[in-house]
Amino acid sequence: MSATVIPYDVKPHPLTGMYNGKFGIWLFLASEIMLFGALFSTYVLLRVGAPEGTWPIAGSPTTRGDNILQVPLAALNTAFLITSSVTMVLAWANLKMGSFKKGQQFLLVTVLLAGAFLVVKYFEYNSKLHHYAVTFNEHFDRDGVESKSFKGLTQAGTEKTIHYLWGHVEETKKDADGAIQSYLFMPDHDTSHGGEGHEPKAVEIHPAEIARMTTFGPGGSSFLGCYFVITGLHGLHIVGGIVVMLWFLLTGSKMWKTQPDKYANRIECTGLYWHFVDLVWIFLFPVLYLL
């Protein structure tokens, strides 16, 4: 394409032991460490500073993320990513050993695993976005459904009783002008009045009774904000990885024919990135779900 030949484009530099691309990707990863590092310290800071009883969301019995997140799904995703890391490194190893076909096959498996990760993530996100937390102005009791309550501290340190219910909105009733009249609210099994063994039943709630109503989406609590931003950014990294890998799956053979070493290097760099994405998840999983 251009007349200039860049030194150490393919061969490693004697001082650093890396060709340009590899050094470049490592530097990029260093900056990524700071990016995720900042988000991680945000999480720690907010968690340490959270008023009692508000982490991960107002009303949870303990501070662990699994009060509102599904550990099995995340464990499954961990397995997907770890496996994809192995297939990625195998893709590179096979290319290095001269087997293009096997290399590309492993790359394809990596893409598929990454896709599986995203699918699981989609279901996780979706369930959060349709799950509601309602905080009432005062104690709520209608048709046998009672709000739960807990005593929390505000950030100013004063005590405050919070009345709340978690559940799903079955139906939103609006008047002719489109203003909301009431919600038909189905409380979660464990928070409903009936307790274990009883069928929970839906109850009508009026906007005037509600202090705040949110989904378990990013605005639900500090924790959920952290959860969505960090996993969202991580998910974007996965998407980026998929795009790059698909690109190499589609166009790789051309480069392989003329510059097999360079192609293997590209896959190595992609791999470094991909292992980093895996590594981030290895930390995210316990931090967000298990602590």
Partner: protein
């Protein structure tokens, strides 16, 4: 290395070029335009400050409209009206002035412009390590910049929470703030692409014989700068993302909850921390000030060595100081936050690190000053700028010490004293270094010299007027005038020193006029400047081995380096300079 560039169509050669020199020039020109624009915003503000609530003069009045300016009646009898800057307009202009100057003008000029153009040449490299990434970095920067400017046209005007964008104010600000955040994320991405490229180039693309300690100081300065950009910027990117989420997705990272806006409580889960933003912001923004100054120091070192015709005094101390400076700059950031209620233990730590970091800066300055000792100095335009840089940077640096100690910072924080301090560092400091660099490398980039006399007029005017702008700031600050203030005459202590503010405004107008010779010189010399060969300054470093302007691929033959960067007046040599490249 044959010159294939002639086969490239125009748009590939000059617009979507992957050649580091073209990209460097693109960066330089774009950044200079942003510099002028940021300065223009400040002129409007200066007018308001000197003549509060008086109609703006014609030029400004004609281009500005609601909500930046408001209509007022000037003359009751005739019904004549005029336009005055509004408070909102002032806030938006102030925030955008800061943002544009720092992120769109100085950094792109110092790193994107000079770094791109000079660094590969001084390393003897044919180009950057990743030419296409380099191109992507420029275009990302341009997109970010245009997006930032687009903020002026959305409802409520551009971002108006200061260049620091402190929450919770910034959380409830108008749409312009969202644009600002998006713009920042894009600009940071551009910086990251650039810094990776710079580091790889400086480490891996040095030609044979060019060991680390034979690198010109400029390359060292750029290398340290790149590390700062690489590791300090991502936390701000994260912070920007979080603030964006706070604004658009209803999260509450920086919102502690219970915020009452116009009588209504902001709907949020609360639990956030406004101080968290300040930490993440200053974690970047302190290293950022070294990003602003280090490349400038690099340029000054080159120019001084060249025009004193002597080796730099203490080259190794310069290098070690720059590295130490870079390292320390990551652990001083909370000195911007003494007044946030920080406890004494931590503030002691940060006072100590702040005092420590001033040591390498002083070493660098001292080395540069001692380099002048006993030299037969050539007083050309680049050298004049370099020489005036030294005392200006000294003033800027020394006035920073009282800000680094809590006892005095309590009084000076958020006053015009602070504004004076950092402008002495960045305006007569960095900008003078940038001018020195433009005059110094112009012949390399264009093959023609800039006019010397226009250059001297430019230097003299700039030097006089820039001091007239910024010197009063120290006195204003010590008199208690606050920064980001729309009209100081509303306070008694402010009204008492209004004269100084008027002086600064006229200084700024003079400064604007003093740039006219530069603009003329810049364009005129492109066509009519005296043609020169490869090495008009009789300099030693590698870029002067390549033809002027260097072709695509830079060097006619890959150079081999035999000696250090500043071997001037070596005893026994026939010339007073010995070039790094062996012939």
């Amino acid at each position: 290395m044959s010159d294939h560039s002639h086969e490239l169509p125009f748009w590939k050669k000059y617009i979507f070029s992957v050649d580091h020199k073209v990209i460097g020039i693109q960066y330089t020109v774009t950044a200079l335009l942003f510099l002028a624009f940021g300065f223009g915003l400040m002129l409007v503000m200066r007018y308001q400050l000197a003549y509060p609530n008086q109609p703006l003069p014609g030029v400004f009045a004609s281009v500005l409209s609601e909500p930046v300016v408001g209509e007022v009646t000037v003359n009751e009898a005739t019904g004549e009206t005029g336009k005055v800057l509004t408070g909102d307009g002032y806030n938006a202009f102030g925030a955008m002035h800061g943002t544009i100057m720092v992120f769109l003008a100085i950094v792109p000029l110092a790193v994107g412009g000079f770094g791109n153009f000079v660094l590969p040449l001084q390393c003897g490299a044919p180009d950057m390590a990743f030419p296409r990434l380099n191109m992507a970095s420029y275009w990302t920067y341009l997109c970010g910049g245009i997006l930032m400017l687009f903020g002026f046209f959305v409802k409520g005007g551009a971002a108006n929470s200061g260049w620091t964008s402190y929450p919770p104010l910034s959380l409830i600000a108008t749409t312009g703030q969202t644009i600002w955040l998006l713009g920042m994320v894009i600009l940071i991405t551009s910086s990251l692409l650039g810094s990776v490229n710079f580091i790889v180039t400086a480490v891996q693309l040095r030609v044979q014989g060019l060991s680390f300690f034979r690198l010109p100081f400029f390359v060292w300065a750029q290398l340290v700068t790149s590390f700062l950009l690489l590791l300090a910027f991502p936390p701000l990117e994260a912070a920007g993302l979080l603030q964006l989420m706070d604004r658009v997705a209803g999260t509450s990272f920086f919102d502690p909850g219970g915020l009452i806006i116009s009588g209504v409580e902001r709907n949020s889960a609360g639990g956030g921390s406004p101080l968290l933003w300040q930490h993440l912001f200053w974690f970047l923004a302190h290293p950022e000030v070294y990003v602003l100054i280090l490349p400038g120091l690099g340029i000054i070192a080159e120019v001084i060595a060249n025009n004193t015709r002597k080796p730099l005094w203490g080259y190794k101390s310069l290098v070690y100081s720059a590295i130490f400076l870079g390292f320390m700059s990551f652990i001083v950031w909370a000195h911007h936050m003494y007044l946030t209620g920080m406890g004494t233990t931590l503030s002691t730590f940060f006072q100590a690190t702040t005092m420590i970091i001033s040591v390498p800066s002083v070493i660098i300055l001292t080395c540069l000053v001692i380099s002048l000792w006993g030299a037969r100095i050539r007083f050309n335009t680049p050298m004049l700028f370099a020489l005036s840089f030294l005392p200006m940077f000294a003033i800027g640096g020394l006035t920073g010490l009282p800000l680094g100690l809590t006892a005095s910072d309590i009084h000076l924080h958020d006053t015009y004293y602070v504004i004076g301090h950092f402008h002495y560092v960045v305006a007569p400091g960095t900008i003078f270094a940038m001018f020195a660099g433009v005059y110094y490398w112009y012949p390399k980039a264009s093959g023609r010299m800039m006019n010397e006399w226009l250059g001297r007029i430019h230097w003299f005017g700039s030097f006089v007027f820039i001091n007239a702008v910024f010197m009063p700031f120290f006195f204003l600050g010590m008199a208690g005038v606050l920064r980001r203030q729309f009209d100081q005459t509303e306070t008694l202590h402010g009204a008492a020193v209004q004269g100084l503010t008027v002086m600064a405004t006229w200084g700024a107008i003079g400064l604007a006029l003093a740039q006219i010779p530069f603009v003329i010189n810049f364009f005129w010399s492109m066509f009519a400047g005296q043609r020169v060969g490869a090495n008009p300054w009789k300099a030693t470093t590698l870029e002067w081995t390549a033809p002027s302007p260097p072709p695509h691929g830079n060097f006619d033959a890959v150079p081999v380096v035999a000696r250090g960067p500043y071997e001037y007046s070596v005893p026994g040599e026939s010339e007073d300079f010995s070039m790094q490249a062996t012939a």
